[in-house]
């Protein structure tokens, strides 16, 4: 007898408030990768003033926003805090990006304005810095499994995050600034919470992480859950490799000089008309 199809229950926090850098693509990556495998999904959205049933969520998403939106989210999160903490301790999977990451820590001190209290789920604190870290990032991470993976994306943050002993970094920076530009760490993890500064959005071009989150979410719900069926991920892999190349290229100044020289060379050498005729 065929068993009933599995369902993963996704809770998407602040879809309107914290939605600035295409991060809704993370949700899209998860639900498409479910559909392609015949796994069912449900998505519950919870904005300001709505407290979802976290006990029934397998996978919780919380994304980035600008300081103004983050302040509103921090205020609202207090009402959601208890149930969300319980879900984390019960090994629900959480992906937190950028401001979402900062809000899961103990606090965030913005450069201008009062301290924002976080949830304290992650043993991490964030301080506003004078400059922004903007650019491509690559990390190496093993998530404690011994399997080496690379994670690629784009960071854009002025907050400097420092981890305490209760949180492990998500990975070590290969290119880019990471948590604070000093200690070579990026992101944080605790139980099944995965927090990062990486946009891109991060899941489509890191299909391995999307699948890791999905399989942990299914394991949260189904004891007898086996490995996920592999997918043809050619476009994902090509985008991953392209981003990796961007994150690991030499420093900006040399890059700009080389680009300018090759542009001049091309311009002087270009024939009057190129390309096939139609």
């Amino acid at each position: 007898m065929a068993r009933a199809p599995m369902t993963v229950r996704i809770c998407y926090l602040y879809p309107r408030l914290l939605s600035v850098a295409g991060d809704r693509g993370n949700l899209l990556a998860l639900i498409r990768r479910c559909s392609w495998r015949g796994i069912r999904y449900s998505v519950t959205e919870a904005d300001v003033g709505e407290v979802p049933d976290f006990a029934h969520a397998d996978l919780i998403l919380v994304h980035g926003g600008q300081d103004r939106e983050m302040t509103a989210a921090a205020r609202d999160l207090a009402a959601k805090a208890g149930a969300l903490r319980d879900a984390v301790e019960a090994d629900a999977v959480v992906l937190a990006v950028c401001a979402g990451y900062q809000l899961l820590g103990h606090y965030y001190d913005p450069p201008d304005g009062p301290r924002l209290q976080g949830l304290g789920v992650l043993d991490a604190v964030t301080e506003g810095g004078p400059t922004r870290f903007i650019g491509h990032v690559a990390l190496k991470c093993d998530l404690g499994s011994g399997n080496q993976h690379q994670l690629v994306g784009f960071e854009n943050h002025s907050g400097r995050t420092y981890l305490g002993s209760g949180a492990k970094p998500l990975g070590q920076v290969l290119g880019g600034a990471g948590n604070n530009g000093e200690d070579g760490t990026e992101g944080a993890r605790y139980r099944e919470v995965y927090a990062t500064y990486l946009h891109g959005p991060v899941l489509p071009k890191n299909a391995w992480l999307a699948d890791h989150l999905l399989s942990r979410a299914l394991a949260h719900r189904y004891q007898d859950f086996g490995p996920l069926a592999p997918l043809p991920d050619l476009a994902e892999e090509q985008a991953h490799v392209a981003s990796l190349r961007l994150a690991r290229r030499p420093a900006g100044r040399w890059r700009a000089a080389a680009a300018a020289l090759s542009q001049i060379g091309r311009t002087l050498a270009a024939p009057a008309a190129t390309g096939p005729d139609l």
């Binding site: 103004r68 784009f154 392209a242 096939p276």
Partner: protein, 487 residues
Amino acid sequence: MRTIASRSPGSSLAGKAHVTPSGQARLALALGAGKAAATASRVLRFGGGTSFPGSVARRMDPRILQKVGAATDVRKVIVTGSNGKTTTCRMLAALARASGLMVTQNRSGSNLLQGVISAAVRGMDLRGRMHAQLLLLEVDEATVRLVTPDLQPETLLITNIFRDQLDRFGELYSIARGLEAVVDTLPATATVVLNGDDPLVASLATRTAARLVYFGIQADSSATQAPEHAADSIRCVRCQHLLTYRAVHLSHLGDYQCPECGNARPGLDVAVTAILPSPDAGFDIIVETPAGTFPLQVPLPGLHNVYNAAAALAGVMASVQRPPEPAEARRAISGLRPAFGRLEEIRAGERKVVLAFVKNPTAYNTTLFEVLRRPGLKHVLAAHSNTVVDGEDFAWLWDVELEQLTPQLASLVISGTRAEEVALRFKYAGARPADLQVLHDRSTALHAALTQTQPGESLYIFAGYTPMRELRSIMQRRGWVASPWEE
């Protein structure tokens, strides 16, 4: 409304006390070098001289913009904002010419510091005399704070603030803070023209001494229900409560109010009171202004062009002594063709190429919906590159409603230095993996896309600034289209 002093044409800067003879000589040197650079770059075929002359001239005379600003015999108008700068400038120039003025402008999209100086270099003779009576500059929203204090414009027009190239500017609100600081420095003799329907733009002028003019849409006919999910700044600027809209026209632009603190859309000085789609893809609109009622025919598709027309009309009224009569204005606006890459139609032999310049989610969605309204399946070439102009971060592509395009795809070719990123987005938007043809080389990509387009059909190109210029110059070399600076 202020007036333009009558003057003899081409009075020189040398007569002004604060430009010394050595300063004048330096300026002449800078202008001469800039003009030589412009000629050299055209002869050597590097890009038609849109920014190189400016960088040469500035090297020779770092104070060149201040000296242009000191020229009292020319009115200076700066147009800035996220979207609509180029089209607003084209409309404003047409309206100013309709009222009998000569206009000097910077070239389409060439709106960083060097491009602005290049325009000034081109418009002046070696003694620093401006031929035109109106110097109209499209200026990038981050560059405007470098240009405005030196140039001292009589009019500053802000079209809107959308999320655009966040990796370059950091955050939406820091763009707003930067613009607000610029607006604050303007004297009482200047006029600031603001989009009243944009809550962020309307909030910029709380402290300035300058005269304020608000434009916007007062008509309900085109209103949609709720802001799209790419919408920005839908929280109250003062108290951060969610804004409510009586009407939303485009993204977060509309008739808004804050239920918490009472902050609301300001009264409009230049208001579009009626919008009727016209049969040929544009709009017939009625604009009420202090100088009378203007029935205009906007020949460009997309509601954003209604905003551009209102902005241009408000801008011309703030800047010229005798604004055009309604009939002159109507003739000027109805005669416009789409700007470079704004759904520009190009004949490619038996095929047609429609060029759409897309640089942020709002601009992309607006253009996309316009294309989706057209019947039939679409052949598409999508191209994005990471450059200084186009930025490095393409996360915003995930806020574009490409899910609505994929069911209408006849063929798809993807190009540019970030082609893999674009291909991935199309895959998750529902394009079949077998249809994702990545061809990095722009010329090869254009050839492949046109090969799949049958005679009589159209190829739609959605591209960022740099790949669009590259694709357009390939078409130029084939003789399908003139160079943008020859039009």
